[in-house]
């Protein structure tokens, strides 16, 4: 059964090829069958593989399938190989499972779109590339998937390319993440140079054997890989592309910009955890970046008005929690949060999509309202998702995973980071229920038109269930053998319980405050944003990063490009040509046609020659 692993990425890839080459000739039902079916089949295969893997664990907990050797140059032999262990198993289940639900949902959401086939082709390619990324047994193959998902993200953000703003958003996403990718590529150069391999297992093994903890090379590699992760996962300072990425269709935001692709950075850091362990300073940087991002993004989410932008900033913020988990040395907690986040954030995006679908593409939450009455299923599933996001105690998955991250931070002695995380949790609860109360409670704003059918509500319901019960999955226990056991807990169990209670109280406090500010009837405007005033506007603009980067990079690059447009180097040959032309003009003056002038110059020349002969 395990040998069918290759089918998992190949099925969506086949779907992509079929839809690309035949998509425009196929009827919509056929396109749906191929687009949704390929991912569905892939998820079934993934489930079967998981059953086989867990039922009969291969030696070392790793199953490898080598498809072919990519190339073999001077001892570097990257392979197109699939690497299945507990971590990649969890990832493929999430990618294919959540992916399938989102594909199913899209079948209705995108039904009216003229480019239905192109949409599913890109989505299938994305799933294939994401699976390559998480299954890759070699960093170079991982890089292929890494850039591949970036490409699909580009294609899908710019899916409605008739609108110039979407085109720009797509380009921005690709370029900003590519900055991180180049850093990662340089990290790979160092690995090849020093370790002579890019095989995931060999890299970690050789690094541990060759490099002393904290040595310059390993710090550089870890920092550069972190650069890649930061770009893909929209962490500081490369977070600016994700809010704009909301220009894509909502299922795209759910799949790529919430559940899967943006978590690739977390996956990468978890996967190469061995390197980060050798570079403690960079690991601390991971935690600090994560914490800073989670606070900044939570602040920005608090004052947004666009429903998708709220969720986008929320995603950045939750990814910050994952980075915090990675940074305090608990990759299993980070991956746990990654999984629960995939459930509830996909759910929230799909719910938002259902709202947008029903309300004539209205994105402004303050023009929506009271949808509880007209869209009950959407409302209750959305509340479940928001509760998970807010970390509603005991009954939601988000509570357990976020709490685990915070507890590991506390247990690791990072009290400041823990405190910041707790503050972030409070803001998270506040903004998520601000969204819920404004959109679903209160007076009716835009009337709901089209009602979501079963293809939309079934994924919502399943994801809602997962958002609630997903926390009881024993994921950390499964992952710890792969990712390394968490450090010995210094604090006794009682402290953990106390902190859990504290986290629960914080979450409930945030929700209560949201109710007080937004839930009760008779609210005017946006109390939080009004109270924050100019600070609120600053936060709404993403803390001014876009403007800053515009000044620092975009405009100077544009100016340089425009200054060089005519190629100043071309002046060099032009100058030579000008010189020749100048000589021509000067000498042409002597050809004036005057006989006596010629005679005079002849005589002068002869005299001069005579003078030279006589004196020299």
């Amino acid at each position: 059964m395990l040998d069918l692993l290759w089918l998992v990425p190949v099925l969506p890839l086949a779907g992509f090829l079929a839809l690309t080459f035949a998509g425009r000739r196929l009827a919509k039902p056929a396109v749906t069958a191929i687009g949704v079916g390929s991912v569905g089949l892939s998820s079934l295969v993934a489930g079967a593989v998981a059953a086989a893997f867990l039922g009969h664990m291969p030696p070392g907990g790793v199953h490898r399938q080598i498809l072919w050797r990519w190339f073999d140059v001077a001892g570097l032999r990257p392979e197109i190989s699939l690497h299945l262990d507990a971590l990649s198993l969890v990832m493929i289940l999430v990618v294919t499972g959540v992916g399938f639900l989102i594909h199913l949902y899209s079948a209705q959401f995108m039904e009216e779109d003229a480019d239905f086939a192109r949409f599913f082709a890109s989505m299938n390619l994305f799933v294939a590339m994401m699976l390559v990324l998480v299954l890759a047994g070699d960093l170079l193959l991982l890089y292929l998937g890494w850039e591949g998902v970036g490409l699909c993200s580009f294609l899908l953000i710019g899916f409605w390319y008739g609108e110039p703003a979407n085109v720009l958003a797509a380009r921005k996403a690709f370029v900003v993440t590519r900055v991180g990718d180049v850093a990662m590529a340089i990290g790979l150069f160092i690995l090849v140079d020093r370790l002579g391999t890019l095989d995931l297992q060999a890299v970690v093994a050789r690094a541990e054997a060759q490099w002393a903890p904290g040595s310059a090379a390993v710090v550089a590699v870890a920092a550069l890989l972190l650069g890649g992760a930061v770009g893909k996962s929209a962490q500081l300072p490369l977070q600016t592309w994700l809010p704009d990425a909301m220009a894509g269709p909502t299922p795209v935001s759910a799949l790529i910009h919430a559940a899967t692709m943006v978590t690739a950075g977390v996956y990468l850091v978890a996967r190469t955890g061995g390197l980060f362990e050798l570079a403690p300073s960079i690991r601390t940087a991971v935690a600090v970046i994560g914490t800073a991002t989670l606070l900044l993004a939570a602040g920005a989410a608090l004052v947004q008005r666009d429903i998708k932008r709220i969720l986008a900033y929320s995603t950045i913020s939750q990814l910050g929690y994952m980075f915090l988990g990675l940074g305090v040395g608990s990759a299993s907690a980070a991956i746990f949060h990654l999984v629960t986040h995939a459930f509830f954030k996909a759910l929230l995006f799909l719910g938002a999509g259902a709202v947008i679908y029903a309300c004539h593409h209205e994105h402004d939450i303050f023009r929506l309202g009271g949808l509880r009455r007209s869209l009950p299923t959407v409302t209750w599933t959305f509340v479940a998702g928001a509760a998970a996001l807010a970390g509603f105690p005991l009954v939601t998955a988000g509570f357990y995973s976020k709490d685990l991250v915070l507890w590991r931070a506390f247990a690791g002695g990072h009290f400041l980071l823990w405190g910041a995380g707790l503050l972030g949790a409070f803001v998270t609860a506040l903004y998520s229920f601000r969204l819920v109360f404004v959109v679903f409670w209160g007076e009716t704003g835009t009337e709901a038109g089209a009602r979501p059918g079963w293809r939309m509500t079934v994924p919502l319901t399943i994801l809602a269930a997962l958002s609630l019960v997903g926390g009881w999955l024993g994921l950390p226990a499964v992952l710890e053998p792969v990712l390394g056991a968490a450090e010995e807990m210094a604090e006794p169990h009682g402290t953990e319980l106390l902190l859990q209670v504290l986290a629960g109280v914080v979450s409930l406090g945030g929700i209560a405050l949201a109710w007080a500010l937004y839930g009760r009837p008779g609210r005017h405007g946006d109390p939080v944003a009004d109270a924050l005033g100019p600070v609120g506007r600053w936060w709404r603009a993403g803390w001014g990063f876009d403007a800053l980067y515009d000044r620092l990079f975009v405009r100077p690059y544009d100016a340089v490009a425009r200054a060089l447009e005519k190629d100043p180097v071309d002046r060099l040959p032009a100058a030579a040509a000008g010189l020749a032309r100048g000589f021509h003009r000067a000498l042409a003056l002597t050809q004036n046609g005057r006989l006596r002038w010629y005679a005079l110059s002849l005589a002068a020349g002869a005299t001069f020659a005579l003078y030279l002969v006589l004196t020299l």
Binding site: T20, R24, W68, R69, W70, F71, D72, V73, A74, L76, I80, L140, Y143, L144, W146, E147, G148, L151, F154, G158, Y161, G162, P164, V167, A170, R171, F174, V175, R178, V179, D181, V182, A185, I186, L188, F189, I190, V192, D193, Y557, V560, A561, R562, L564, E565, D567, V569, D570, L572, P573
Partner: protein, 487 residues
Amino acid sequence: MKLVALVLVPLLGGLLAWPLGRRRTEWARIAAVLALGVDLALALSLLGPAGPGGWLATFELPWIPSLGIGLRLGLDGLSLVLVLLTLLVGLLAVFASWSEIRERVGFFHFNLCWVLAGILGVFLALDLVLFYFLWELMLVPMVFLIALWGHERKTYAAIKFFLYTQASGLLMLLAILGLGLAHQRAAGSWSFAYGDLLGVSLEPTLALWLMLGFFAAFAVKLPVVVLHTWLPDAHSQAPTAGSMVLAALLLKTGAYGLLRFAIPLFPDASVRFAPVAMVLGAIGVIYGAVLAFAQTDLKRLVAYTSVSHLGFVLLGIYAWTSFSLTGTVLQMVAHGLSTGALFVLAGALYERTHTRDLERLRGLAPVVPRMGAAALFFALASLGLPGLGNFVAEFLVLVGAWEVRPIPTTIAALGLVAATLYSLRFFQRAFHGPAAEAELADLRPRELTVLGAMGVALLWLGLAPQPLFEVVAPALDVLLRTAGGTP
């Protein structure tokens, strides 16, 4: 003997196409296709295990014995790969100009075949005088291709191209004569054979000057930044087939010259010069990318991307490691295909819209979806997307260069971001945005075949380039050993 035939067949094909084209234009095209097809089969028949010194085949015939000049040809893995590329791109160029060229069709194919023959000869020549002769042979028909079938500023572009190439070629001739003289002084007899000249020991300053003579000629062709300005004019003014041959093949003769002659003949001088060259390469990567971003003329944009891509080649050649040389060869092939395809697309767009101005092309994706998909594919190849040949090439070049000199390599790696900017700008400007109103024909089967062949080849090079590497590896090992690199 096969090697001579390899050069002669396109020459004869050209001679045949000229008069046939006067009768019926189709005959000229078919004659060219047949000649190149036969030649391709001939080249493929040379595939096999490498003999001593990495040679797959050699040929020698005295020409001017008193001066040690001979018709010496040799084919190793490196030459073979470039010969195959030449013939493949040549064939595709004939197909790509099937509907574009309507005037003087016979003479056009004569020139095309002769350029290709000159290029093939350059890749095979093992006698420096013969090499120089063939180097000049490929120049003249190329000038005609630009000057007769080019766009609005064709004469300017043709003259500029001619002057640059000719002047730098003369420097190379001087260096060749100097090297011959040095051999005569040392050994007592004249010889211009590559094998004989390899071992000549030279005084360091003289070696540096002679090396610079060679470098000048190759740097103009490559092109190295500062000497590159003929390229945007020539590429943008030439007809599609001309641009393809220029970008995909003619530039590669510069890289080939550096690999085969400039470095092995002057290893010590090259070591001294390598830091300068690598910095020039890195500058070229960035400079080309920034200028490509700024261009509004589609063909000029693609031309500047060549400057950028061949910056990687220069970087890789002077890093002189196994990684970087393998990457360089792959980059030469992959760039030939991806840029050639972009010129085909630019030509197809020009044929339909009569403009190459990116300000005027807009929203074409819904109008010509196949062309949009193809443009996206090759733009992605050009920005180095993994899975396509250019990525593996650039990765290997950068890995190899990193070991030698990390700083220029880092600068060149930043070129990947710049490449993203220009590729996306090109693609999105022309194909995205509000849908164009125009009614245009999408890619025709013939164009689809040409582009499809190039696309499949790029995918192959990106996912399983090992067969190619195995063909060139023995040749590169020999080069590395002769010039004391680190294999």
